[in-house]
């Protein structure tokens, strides 16, 4: 027993005496791939960024793996979507990481939802009979390119705070990002201008922010309650809505199961449009610019086809 105690004491002394991370890079862990891409835009070479979710994983239901906690253990900064999108797994990982730097309220805790105005904040009380409802509002805001300048500013401010030596570096990269983003956004808006006022149906309440920026009208969802499979009655009503409103497309992310939605589209005489929902959800969508380019391309092509 005495020997065991001595070994333990020696091990503890060894841990406590080791220096911090040997390289000077700021270690950032993000929940979503698009948030990781944003941090890379601002942090450049001064940061080392990993996303916990893959581009084709559903952030509502990510499997909380111990290896995720391991990555978070050494992180200086954790950046996440918030609005309870990650509530099923992130608290568990934060606990597993045993890293006071990134715990809620610490300097290394960055909830990006605090820098946007959430849509669809329920006005009355909420309960689970309404499905997987988010009491603080719709969490799928990262598909809205118009929000990125504000999100980028929030990231830059936090990087400055944690790594003040890099302040001018981050500011310069932020300015460059904002310039390029404004140009691209103007172009994306021009390319998608013909979509303004077009009624669409979406599978999940996932495209509300995107629709707001590009003027699309979302008339209904395939899921009548978020996260709950639709009832046959709702599908019947939806078929009528699609015909009545002349809806050309049902938006489905690459994550959604197309099965019944394809059948509905066939009956109602519209088309299922599969959209990449995140950075790295498809080949060639490995940063923010290429991801939004792909989104715009898919919609632009669909619009051209619909006109023919």
């Amino acid at each position: 027993m005495k020997r065991a105690t001595m070994i333990l004491a020696a091990a503890l002394a060894a841990i406590l005496s080791t220096a911090g991370p040997s390289d000077a890079k700021l270690r950032v862990v993000t929940t979503l791939t698009e948030i990781a891409a944003l941090v890379r835009e601002i942090g450049g070479d001064r940061v080392e960024v990993t996303a916990l979710a893959h581009g084709n994983e559903d952030p509502h239901f990510l499997a909380a793996k111990p290896s995720h906690s391991r990555r978070m253990m050494e992180a200086d900064l954790l950046v996440y979507d918030g609005l309870e999108l990650e509530v099923g797994w992130l608290p568990l990982l934060i606990e597993g990481a045993r890293n006071p730097r990134i715990r809620p309220g610490a300097a290394g805790d960055l909830d990006l939802s605090r820098f946007i105005q959430p849509l669809e904040v329920p006005s009355g009380g909420v309960d689970r009979s309404m499905g997987d409802i988010h009491p603080e509002g719709n969490p799928h805001y990262t598909v809205d390119p118009a929000l990125y300048p504000d999100l980028a500013r929030a990231v830059a401010d936090r990087l400055n705070e944690l790594d003040s030596e890099g302040a001018s570096f981050y500011e310069a990269r932020l300015a460059a990002f904002e310039r390029r983003w404004t140009e691209e956004l103007t172009e994306w808006k021009e390319r998608l201008a013909p979509l303004e006022g077009i009624p669409v149906v979406t599978y999940h309440k996932q495209w509300e922010y995107f629709a707001r920026t590009f003027g699309l009208l979302i008339v209904d969802q395939v899921e009548d309650k978020p996260g709950i499979p639709p009832t046959p009655r709702h599908i019947g009503e939806l078929e009528q809505t699609i015909r009545r409103e002349n809806v050309p497309w049902i938006f489905l992310s690459d994550l959604n199961d197309p099965g019944n939605t394809e059948k509905l589209a066939e009956r109602a005489g519209c088309r299922v449009l599969r959209l990449p929902q995140a950075v790295d959800s498809r080949d060639g969508t490995d940063d923010l610019f290429s991801w939004f380019d792909e989104l715009v391309r898919v919609l632009e092509e669909a619009e051209r086809e619909a006109r023919r």
Partner: protein
């Protein structure tokens, strides 16, 4: 002073010593009643139908009132029963400690404290500390709460060898998530010895047991992981006889893509209890496969084995601690085969049907378990 009392006296002292200065400054509160700082509360209920008993049922009919009472308390008798109701309360105490309480009611007999511990939030470098009462990290199955069991019942050996409540008690646990590139976690636990580990009530005072675990976790690909652990628990007990528990566990998981991915889990665990080399050696083992085949349907199959020593008088003392189905006093190998089908309409409820076939050597048992469970309240986090 009982050893468990010492633990509880020690906890606040420990946090006092470790918390930075200024931690205990209190600011005045405004008048009125605020709900802002209420803890997160969730409640889970398990309703059970048990039926189809054969050999065990006959023995049960012959008497054994104590076993019946116990089975009733655990909701494992025949017929419909509320198996368990579990109330979980979690909150930050302050910036330095998080508290977690789990109150469980077995059947309708009143709540008991299943877990209640404080967790340090301030330790750096992957270090963790918790103190209070909790399930020890010993193998995989021991730390599962009833609603987390992969099948309705625990494997036979876990129910008999570890006792009806598993290795659970007042303890202090230190953990270290090492900075090695492969996930490596080391856990060390010290606990005052109680009947939890010994099944004996007359223990020398102030004797402490110890437990340790090494856990590795590998992400073998984007879709697959392997989890591996070795565990020990034990201590000196009645008449200076040491009792030891060892366990080795391994889990392989596959998780597909999409919102409701297909999943496969293969898990195996082996456990041994002994007093001295070769004395009163009892082995337990299980292997299971669980699969999510569609969005709402899951299937599973398990084998589990119980291997007592040839003359296992000791194991008999544990027989009182078991459900009706387990009531076989002969010391021979027992193999149980379970098939399971579950319907999971949402992450907040599930309906499960288990069919068991138990091979007791000369005779066999068949049983069916139908379990419905639901969770309400604060969104629970679920580990993978």
């Amino acid at each position: 002073m009982k050893a468990s009392k010492i633990v509880f006296a020690f906890v606040p002292l420990l946090f006092l010593l470790l918390a930075p200065a200024g931690a205990f400054a209190q600011s005045a509160t405004a008048t009125g009643i605020s709900r802002n700082f209420n803890p997160a509360i969730s409640l889970n209920a398990l309703l059970l139908y048990a039926g189809g008993l054969t050999a065990a049922e006959e023995e049960h009919a012959e008497g054994e009132a104590e076993a019946e009472e116990h089975a009733h308390a655990h909701g494992t008798g025949e017929g419909f029963a509320i198996q368990e109701t579990e109330l979980q309360v979690t909150s930050y105490v302050d910036p330095y400690v998080k508290a977690n309480l789990v109150l469980a009611m077995h059947g309708t007999d009143g709540f008991e404290l299943e877990e209640g511990f404080g967790q340090a939030l301030f330790l750096p470098r992957g270090l963790g500390l918790r103190a209070g009462k909790f399930y020890f990290e010993f193998g995989k199955h021991n730390s599962y709460h009833t609603h987390q069991y992969p099948f309705v019942e625990r494997p036979y050996a876990w129910d008999t060898v570890l006792g009806a409540h598993g290795l659970n008690g007042a303890a202090i646990e230190a953990t270290w998530l090492t900075p090695l590139p492969i996930y490596t976690e080391i856990l060390a636990t010290a606990f005052p010895l109680t009947e939890t580990v010994y099944g004996a009530e007359e223990l020398p005072e102030n004797t402490w047991g110890r437990a340790a675990k090494l856990r590795n976790f590998f992400e073998t690909s984007e879709h697959t992981t392997i989890d591996f652990g070795i565990s020990y628990a034990g201590g000196e007990g009645v008449e200076n006889v040491d009792r030891h528990f060892f366990a080795v566990d391994g889990t392989f998981k596959f998780i597909g893509t999409g919102s409701y991915p297909k999943k496969l889990e293969l898990q195996g665990e082996w456990m041994r209890r002994f007093e001295e080399e070769g004395v009163n050696e009892v082995d337990g083992a299980y292997a299971h496969a669980l699969a999510r085949v569609t969005r709402r349907w899951h299937v599973g199959a398990r084998w589990d084995g119980y291997f007592p020593p040839p003359e296992d008088h000791d194991a008999e003392s544990h027989l009182e601690e078991k459900s009706v189905l387990h009531e076989h006093e002969e010391a021979h190998d027992i193999h149980t085969y379970t098939a399971s089908l579950a319907f999971v309409p949402s992450e907040f409820q599930a309906l499960r049907v288990d069919v068991l076939h138990r091979d007791l050597g000369e005779e066999t048992d068949q049983a069916v378990r139908v379990q419905y469970n639901f969770t309400i309240g604060s969104h629970p986090s679920h580990p993978e």
